[in-house]
């Protein structure tokens, strides 16, 4: 089989060496077995070890290699090279400070995730065996618990860009609803109080970029809608 070559235009910035970020054009020869964007990046890194990005599982479950690919957030390991127009333009996730090249500082993203108390709250003494939960009640968690915290959603959300310190963002709110929807959790009121604020929840204007980019096919907007419904029902 013949060699394929792909053209990249990559955001480069090393604060140790560069005064300002710049876009670098690079081309890479691929093997026939290179199928995903991450395969191409691995080849690229073998040529130039200074190209910096996060990656780990290479199968879309760890959430490390989120980046902005031809203007759209996604995971390099789940993106088919063939699906991309060339040159493939790679930039760091938008809206977060860049540390180096494609690596962003995710502090603000995780701060918001932690702010919703992302853990089960149940103050009853734990029983000897598992707490029971019907299959139907368990099904309520589908589409919520599968989040991989890659930040594709929150960093594609204009509301999060403007107010990353005040708006929880789609990933954090999806997690908030994951616990609100869990029949084993007892902190419903406390969780809703925690979100009752002009920014934390209500900055979501249903733009739905989050739904569009989620590499796991999840729907944070729908979860946010359900939290808003719970707020309304609680008020009446």
């Amino acid at each position: 089989m013949s060699k394929r070559t792909v053209q990249f235009s990559i955001y480069r910035y090393d604060p140790d060496q560069d005064d300002a970020p710049y876009m670098q054009d690079i081309s890479v020869d691929l093997d026939p077995t290179d199928r995903k964007l991450l395969d191409a990046l691995t080849k690229l890194k073998a040529l130039d070890d200074t190209v910096s990005y996060r990656r780990s599982c290479r199968e879309g479950i760890c959430g490390s290699d989120a980046m902005n690919i031809n203007g759209r957030n996604g995971l390099a390991c789940l993106t088919d090279i063939e699906s991309l127009k060339q040159p493939i333009v790679l930039r760091p996730l938008p809206g977060l400070p860049v540390i180096r090249d494609l690596i962003v500082d995710m502090t603000q993203f995780f701060k918001q995730y932690h702010s919703i108390k992302p853990y089960l709250i149940n103050n009853d003494p734990p029983p000897e065996r598992e707490r029971l939960q019907s299959p139907e009640d368990r099904e309520e968690l589908n589409g919520l618990y599968e989040c991989i915290l890659c930040a594709c959603c929150s960093t594609s959300c204009p509301s999060f860009w403007w107010n990353p310190d005040k708006f929880v963002g789609p990933a954090g709110l999806l997690a908030a609803y994951r616990f609100l929807a869990d029949t084993r959790d007892q902190a419903t009121n406390e969780r809703l109080d925690n979100l009752e604020d002009p920014y934390r929840l209500f900055r979501c204007h249903s733009i739905m970029n989050c739904v569009d980019v989620c590499p796991k096919g999840l729907n944070p907007t729908k979860a946010i809608g359900k939290i808003k419904d719970m707020m309304v029902r609680r008020a009446v």
Partner: protein, 595 residues
């Protein structure tokens, strides 16, 4: 050069399943604990586990820990220590129920209990027929588990050092472990973590092989650090090749697919496992299934243009079952094989998956090594759990779902042991004067070397050597050549050169440091494998074939013993006996293994 010292009661290296489970014990006991991880905790490779965690809850049919213990001993081909195996199987219900209490979203039975599915090698009534023992959250059990444990740690206020790489274990002259040196990836700064207890939970090193289900980060850092500090590595010849990696891509397809009714077929659509394991068939132990697949391919019954894979068929299952129980697998098939498994079978090959050996530990989680006549003397201040440790519960072959159980049970017991020792007065011992010299010298040599070996090329040479010389089947002559080749690769790995000189998030430097750890593991594997002249579990060699005297090629008279590899002592190998005595029940007596 003076470098900063951070003082903690305990330092845990690794934030996958074992590290997070240990951290819960320490944080909830109120001890000042640092957890170091190369990646944000939920990105650790436990996240990729799919099929489930073993526990004899008996939620769908009768089950018993003693049956689980029997299966694990048999699965290990009797190389597992029976005290550790009893300990693990008896603790299983407790640690799985705890996870449920932490909020883990297990699937449920109709009566609301944790859902359980069958898995390879797990049988009822001492090997009679498959039993539903694997507790599952769809086919995302590892993800659900890792997130639930991270969340519990958030609740417990555990202090994480995210994107820090531990570099070297600190031991004083008397052999006590006092912490680690570590690199903050964002700044390039090196710091000493000075601790009263040091717990390794660094996972496996599946990246020593070319074709692996493992993540890029699985580079055996804990084993490399232990080896450099004079700790031996145990049973490193035993590597699990998972039967079902996606052909070409290597991505894992859970055994839970076969648990839900999936069938392996060759080029003539034959269910070939019936010939190799008439009783358990597709749910035989992993080493057995992988060898059967490799044999089918070798004898020309593989599929595809190059006849180099077999098929995993679920097309006969109800699509609703696939969507409910195996949704992640369907996604993986579409993504990495271009196949929708509802309509077409998946192309699969045996793929390197799990390291049965590791840092020798007692089942309490304390690291042990020979000292004088004591083959298992405690290394004070040092603990390990999960894939990096060798308790040994998996022996020569691990059963599916026992890895998640291992990291829960031994993560917890390592945490408990550390808490116990700290409460009993284990103190901060003085740091040696030259505490970080070796680390600093290694980093400085790496940063300044010119004309050295390329990291990418060296890694590839190691991976190809391991793949070609220590694969599913092993051959005496190939092993001998493999030892020579890997020692050549080691020379290159000691002379790596990087072009990236930045202090900020220098991934080239991290990959070079990882390579220095990988090579320790690769070398331990090849030399230990060459030395073991029998076939047992995952280690099957051509010059130890099945015979009336040695069924399956296993030679208990000579080889019922654990390998200990000492890289700091001229690559010396010694052996220690297998503990055949359980804690409370009768010994599970040696028997020829068949499924």
């Amino acid at each position: 050069m003076s470098i900063p010292v951070l003082k903690f009661d305990a330092v845990i290296v690794g934030a996958g399943g074992a590290g997070l489970r240990s951290a819960i014990q320490l944080s909830e006991a109120g001890l000042k604990t640092a957890v170091l991880s190369k990646v944000f905790p939920t990105r650790s490779h436990t996240v990729a586990a799919q099929g489930g965690v073993a526990a004899s809850l008996g939620n769908s049919e009768e089950d018993h820990w003693h049956w689980h213990m029997y299966d694990t001993v048999k699965g290990s081909d009797w190389l597992g220590d029976q005290d550790a195996i009893e300990f693990m199987c008896r603790k299983a219900n407790e640690v799985v129920v705890e996870l449920e209490h932490y909020g883990m979203p297990f699937d449920r039975t109709d009566n609301g209990k944790i859902y359980q599915r069958p898995f390879g090698g797990h049988m009822s009534n001492f090997g009679e027929k498959p039993v539903r023992r694997s507790c599952a959250a769809a086919d995302r059990t590892g993800h659900a588990m890792l997130h639930a444990m991270y969340q519990r740690n958030v609740k417990a206020n555990t202090q994480f050092f995210v994107e820090w790489m531990a570099l070297d274990l600190i031991r004083d002259e008397e052999g006590h472990v006092l912490g680690v040196t570590a690199l903050e990836m964002e700044t390039g700064q090196i710091v000493i973590f000075h601790a009263r207890a040091t717990i390794f939970a660094t996972g496996g090193a599946g990246r020593i092989y070319h074709s692996s289900t493992n993540a890029f980060i699985n580079t055996g850092d804990g084993l490399g650090m232990a080896a450099r500090a004079g700790i031996p590595l145990e049973d490193m010849e035993f590597w699990q090749f998972h039967p079902t990696g996606v052909a070409g891509a290597g991505v894992l397809i859970t055994e839970g697919v076969r648990g839900e009714g999936g069938i392996l077929r060759n080029s003539s659509k034959e269910r070939f496992m019936e010939r190799y394991a008439p009783n358990a068939k597709d749910l035989a132990s992993r080493d057995v299934v992988s060898r059967a697949m490799a044999t089918e391919i070798k004898e020309g019954r593989g599929c595809g243009v190059n006849k180099d894979y077999v098929l995993l068929d679920v097309t006969h299952l109800d699509p609703a079952t696939i969507m409910k129980r195996l949704p992640g697998i369907r996604e993986i098939g579409i993504q990495f094989a271009g196949v929708d498994c509802i309509k077409e079978p998946l192309p699969v090959v045996p793929t390197c998956h799990y390291q049965m050996g590791g840092i020798p530990t007692h089942y309490s989680g304390r690291v042990v090594m020979p000292q004088g006549s004591d083959m298992a003397a405690i290394v004070p201040g040092f603990y390990a759990g999960g894939e990096c440790a060798c308790a040994s519960v998996h022996g020569a072959n691990r059963l599916g779902t026992n890895s998640l159980l291992d990291l829960l049970v031994f993560g917890k017991s390592a945490g408990d042991a550390a808490v116990e020792d700290l409460k009993a007065g284990q103190v901060h011992r003085d740091l040696p004067k030259d505490v970080a010299d070796k680390t600093l010298a290694r980093i400085s040599a790496l940063d300044n070397r010119k004309g050295g070996a390329d990291v990418h090329e060296t890694r590839l040479a190691m991976q190809r050597t391991m793949q070609d010389h220590a694969g599913v089947f092993r051959f005496n002559d190939l092993l001998k050549q493999g030892v020579e080749k890997i020692l050549e690769v080691e020379k290159a790995a000691r002379q790596l050169e990087i072009k990236d000189k930045s202090q900020v998030w220098n991934t080239a430097r991290v990959e070079a440091l990882e390579m220095e750890n990988l090579i320790e593991v690769a070398k331990a594997t090849m030399i230990s494998a060459e030395a073991r002249k029998e076939s047992r579990g995952a280690h099957v060699r051509d010059d130890a074939p099945d015979s009336p005297e040695f069924p399956n090629g296993r030679n208990d008279a000579e080889w019922l013993k654990h390998t200990l590899f000492f890289p700091q002592d001229g690559n010396r190998i010694s052996y220690k006996p297998v503990n055949m005595k359980p804690l409370s029940v009768e010994t599970i007596a040696l028997k020829t293994r068949s499924y």
